[in-house]
C-alpha cells in the first residue's frame, strides 16, 4: 500500500522529517571514529553563572556623590589542565558581563552602567591533602565599560578601559555530604581571588571634556595602572553540588574596582549572589 505523504504532513513537518532522515543516514553510515583523552590528570570544566546583587558607584568626573543600586551579571568560566609543569598548570578563561542601575542618595539622578571583562589565567596546582587543591598564578585581562548619568550635560558619561596583569590564587576542597539511607552527595567549595598588579587604564584629565578627547584622541589619557592608583580585587566563592547529571553552582562574587588618578576618584564595589551550572567533560582528540 502506498500512502500519499502530502495528505499526512504539513510542508514544514515534511521538511523537518527530511532533515532528520538525512541526519540518521549520515550517523548510520559514518565510519566509527575513535578518540583518546588529551589529558589523563583532570577533566575540563565549563560553568555559566547568573548573578544579582548590590553595587556602590562613585565617579567624581560625573558627581561627588556615591550612587547605589543593583547589578545583574553573568560569568562564564572554563578551566582545563595543560601539559605544562608535568600537568600541574591549568588554563582558565573568564568572561564577565554586568549591567548596573544606581541612584544618587537624594533620588534625583541615576547612573546606568555596563561592563564586559575577559581574562585568561594560568595557575600552578598543589594538593597537600586529599581533596584539597591550592592554586596560584597570574592572569591577563581586559575590562571595558561605561557609566552614564541621565542628568549631566557635557559630561554625561564616563568610559572605562583597562588591561592588566594580575596575581591570582585560590583553593578548592572536595567533600561528601551524607544524606538519608547512606547516600552521599559530592560537593566542592572553591575560592579564587584576583589582584591586578600592573596595567594600562583610560582616565581623562580632571576637567577634560569628551569633546576635547574626540578632537585629539585618547592616547594621552591612557595611563599606567598599579595598586598605588588603582587597587582592585575580585573574589569568587562558589559551592558546587553534584547531582547525577548536572552540577549546580552557587556563589558569591565580591568585586572592587577603584582608582584615584588625575584628581578623579572612581569606585565600583559590588556584591552578587551567583547561581548557575557546571559542565564537566574530558577533552578528547581523534585517534589517527
Amino acid at each position: 500500500m502506498i500512502y500519499d505523504l502530502k495528505l499526512w504532513f504539513t510542508p514544514s513537518q515534511r521538511g523537518r522529517g527530511l532533515i532528520l532522515m538525512l541526519f540518521v543516514s549520515v550517523s548510520l553510515f559514518a565510519e566509527k571514529t575513535e578518540y583518546e583523552a588529551v589529558s589523563d590528570r583532570s577533566p575540563a570544566a565549563r560553568s555559566l553563572l547568573f548573578g544579582i546583587g548590590r553595587t556602590h558607584q562613585l565617579d567624581t568626573y560625573l558627581s561627588p556623590m556615591e550612587y547605589r543600586g543593583i547589578q545583574v551579571s553573568f560569568l562564564t568560566q572554563s578551566e582545563r589542565m595543560t601539559h605544562l609543569a608535568k600537568r600541574h598548570i591549568s588554563f582558565q578563561s573568564t568572561f564577565f558581563g554586568a549591567y548596573t542601575h544606581t541612584d544618587n542618595p537624594a533620588g534625583t539622578a541615576d547612573y546606568q552602567g555596563g561592563r564586559l571583562a575577559y581574562d585568561a589565567a594560568w595557575h600552578y596546582h598543589y594538593s597537600p591533602l586529599l581533596g584539597l587543591d591550592l592554586k596560584g598564578g597570574a592572569l591577563v585581562g581586559a575590562d571595558l565599560g561605561f557609566l552614564y548619568n541621565s542628568r549631566n550635560g557635557n559630561n554625561p558619561a564616563q568610559g572605562r578601559f583597562s588591561a592588566d596583569l594580575s596575581l591570582s590564587a585560590g583553593a578548592g576542597y572536595s567533600f561528601l555530604v551524607p544524606l538519608w539511607h547512606g547516600r552521599r552527595i559530592p560537593m566542592q567549595a572553591h575560592y579564587q581571588a584576583d589582584l591586578p598588579m600592573i596595567g594600562l587604564m583610560f582616565c581623562p584629565e580632571f576637567g577634560e571634556s569628551y569633546y576635547e578627547i574626540s578632537q585629539r584622541g585618547v592616547g594621552h589619557d591612557i595611563i599606567c595602572a598599579h595598586p598605588g592608583n588603582s587597587l582592585c580585587l575580585r573574589q569568587l566563592l562558589t559551592m558546587d553540588v553534584c547531582f547525577k547529571r548536572v552540577t549546580l553552582r552557587m556563589g558569591y562574587l565580591f568585586d572592587i574596582r577603584q582608582s584615584n588618578a588625575r584628581f578623579i576618584k572612581y569606585h565600583d564595589v559590588s556584591h552578587s549572589f551567583m547561581l548557575g551550572f557546571v559542565r564537566h567533560f574530558q577533552l578528547m582528540r581523534v585517534k589517527n
Binding site: L58, T60, L62, S63, P64, M65, E66, N104, P105, A106, G107, T108, A109, Y124, Y126, L134, G136, N149, R151, N152, G153, N154, N155, P156, L167, A169, A171, A193, L195, E205, F206, G207, E208, S209, Y211, E212, Q215, R216, P227, L231, L233, Q235, I256, Q258, N260, R262, F263, K265, H267, V269
Partner: protein, 348 residues
C-alpha cells in the same frame, strides 16, 4: 604559594580599609550644601582667576559672605536663593543650579542689553514660502541676496541640508546669515556650518581644560582649526548678524567666522559664554552646571564676555514701525554695494 596567599589576604584587608567613600554624603543642611557648591566652583570652575580680576571679587571671601546669610531653619527655596546669589557673582550663563523649584541663572549677558531683534519682522523677511533645512530657514530676497536664519545650534544640521541650501542659493550675490537670538547648542553644528565658508584650513582659536584643583591648573592650550568641507562651499560675501543673545556655541561660531575672509560680523557684541559646561551635584540632590573648559580666540584672548562685531549696528525702532529691520537693510546695502563695486572692477 603560601606567600602568594598571604599577600592576597593582606591585600584584601587593605582594600576593605582603603575603599573610598563618596566625597559627599546626602545632606540637606544649608551649610553643607553651600560648602559643597563653593568647593565645586573653587576646584572646577575654569574662569575663577579671570573673573576675580575682571569683576573685582575674591571667591574665598564669598564663602563667609554667603555663609552669614544661612540659618538652620531656612526653607529649601530660601537656600536655593542664597546659593544662586553666590554663583551669580560669576556672571556666567553656563553656571546654573537646577532644582524642581526653579532654574538658578544669571542671564545678565543678554537681559542687560537691547535685543536688537524683532522676531515678527524677521519672519516677514522670510515670508511664507521659505525653505526649511533641519534647523536652517532660508529664502532669496528680492535683490538676489540669500537670507538664512539659524535660531539654535541645538537644532541639528546635516551635510545634506547644507549642500542643498548652498546649491539653492548659489546664484545669489551674497548671504545674510542671521543668528540673532541663537543662544547656543551643539559645538559640532557650529563647526559643521563654519566649514562651508573657508577654502583652506584656518586657525580659529584654542581650548584647554583644568588638570587639577588649583585655580590656574590648566592643560597646554590646544589649537582648534576649521578645515574646509569637501562638499559645496560658499564663495561670496557673508554678513553675519549677531546680538547679545548669541551665546555659547553661537559665540564659538562667531569666533570661527571672524577668521573667514569673506565674512563681516555685524550687530552688537555677542553674549559670550566660552566655557564648555560640566555638571555636578550638591548633597541635597540639586544639579549644578559650571564652565569647565575655556575656549579662546585665534590670538589667545578670552571671549567669555563676548566678541566685538566688525560693524556695530542696532535695530532702529523708527524703521521697525515702517516694517523694516535696519540691520538686515544695512547688510543688504553692504552686499549690494560690494557686488556693484566688483561689477565695476571686472573687465567688460
Amino acid at each position: 604559594m603560601k606567600r602568594l596567599l598571604l599577600l592576597l589576604l593582606g591585600t584584601c584587608s587593605l582594600l576593605l580599609s582603603s575603599c573610598q567613600h563618596g566625597e559627599l554624603s546626602y545632606d540637606t543642611t544649608p551649610q553643607s550644601n553651600l560648602d559643597a557648591l563653593w568647593t565645586i566652583i573653587d576646584q572646577r570652575y575654569c574662569f575663577l582667576s579671570y573673573k576675580e580680576q575682571q569683576l573685582g571679587f575674591r571667591w574665598a571671601d564669598l564663602h563667609a559672605k554667603y555663609s552669614a546669610k544661612l540659618n538652620s531653619q531656612m526653607s529649601r527655596a530660601q537656600l536655593f536663593e542664597i546659593l544662586c546669589q553666590m554663583v551669580s557673582e560669576l556672571k556666567d550663563g553656563h553656571v546654573n543650579i537646577s532644582t524642581s523649584l526653579d532654574l538658578g541663572r544669571n542671564w545678565s549677558w543678554k537681559e542687560d542689553y537691547p535685543e536688537n531683534l524683532d522676531r515678527e519682522l524677521r519672519q516677514q523677511y522670510l515670508g511664507t514660502d521659505y525653505h526649511i533645512g533641519s534647523g536652517l530657514k532660508y529664502t532669496i530676497l528680492p535683490d538676489n541676496i540669500a537670507y538664512v536664519v539659524y535660531e539654535s545650534f541645538a537644532d541639528a544640521i546635516g551635510e545634506g541640508n547644507l549642500s542643498d541650501m548652498l546649491s539653492y542659493l548659489r546664484l545669489c550675490n551674497g548671504m545674510i546669515l542671521d543668528i540673532r537670538g541663537n543662544s547656543g547648542g551643539e559645538l559640532t553644528n557650529a563647526e559643521r556650518l563654519s566649514r562651508r565658508f573657508t577654502n583652506e584650513q584656518r586657525l580659529v582659536g584654542y581650548i584647554c581644560h583644568k588638570t587639577g584643583t588649583g585655580h590656574d591648573d590648566f592643560s597646554e592650550p590646544q589649537a582648534e582649526y576649521i578645515t574646509p568641507s569637501s562638499n559645496i562651499r560658499w564663495q561670496k560675501p557673508v554678513i553675519l548678524l549677531v546680538n547679545r543673545s548669541c551665546y555659547s556655541a553661537a559665540n564659538i561660531f562667531v569666533r570661527n567666522m571672524k577668521e573667514m575672509p569673506l565674512v563681516t560680523v555685524m550687530g552688537d557684541q555677542t553674549g559670550g559664554g566660552s566655557g564648555l559646561p560640566f555638571s555636578s551635584e550638591l548633597p541635597i540632590g540639586w544639579s549644578v552646571r559650571f564652565s569647565a573648559s575655556p575656549s579662546f580666540d585665534a590670538r589667545m584672548q578670552h571671549i567669555e564676555f563676548g566678541i566685538e562685531p566688525d560693524v556695530y549696528a542696532g535695530l532702529d525702532e523708527t524703521l521697525v514701525l515702517e516694517g523694516k529691520d535696519s540691520m538686515i537693510e544695512e547688510a543688504r546695502r553692504l552686499i549690494s554695494g560690494n557686488s556693484e563695486a566688483k561689477a565695476l572692477e571686472s573687465p567688460i
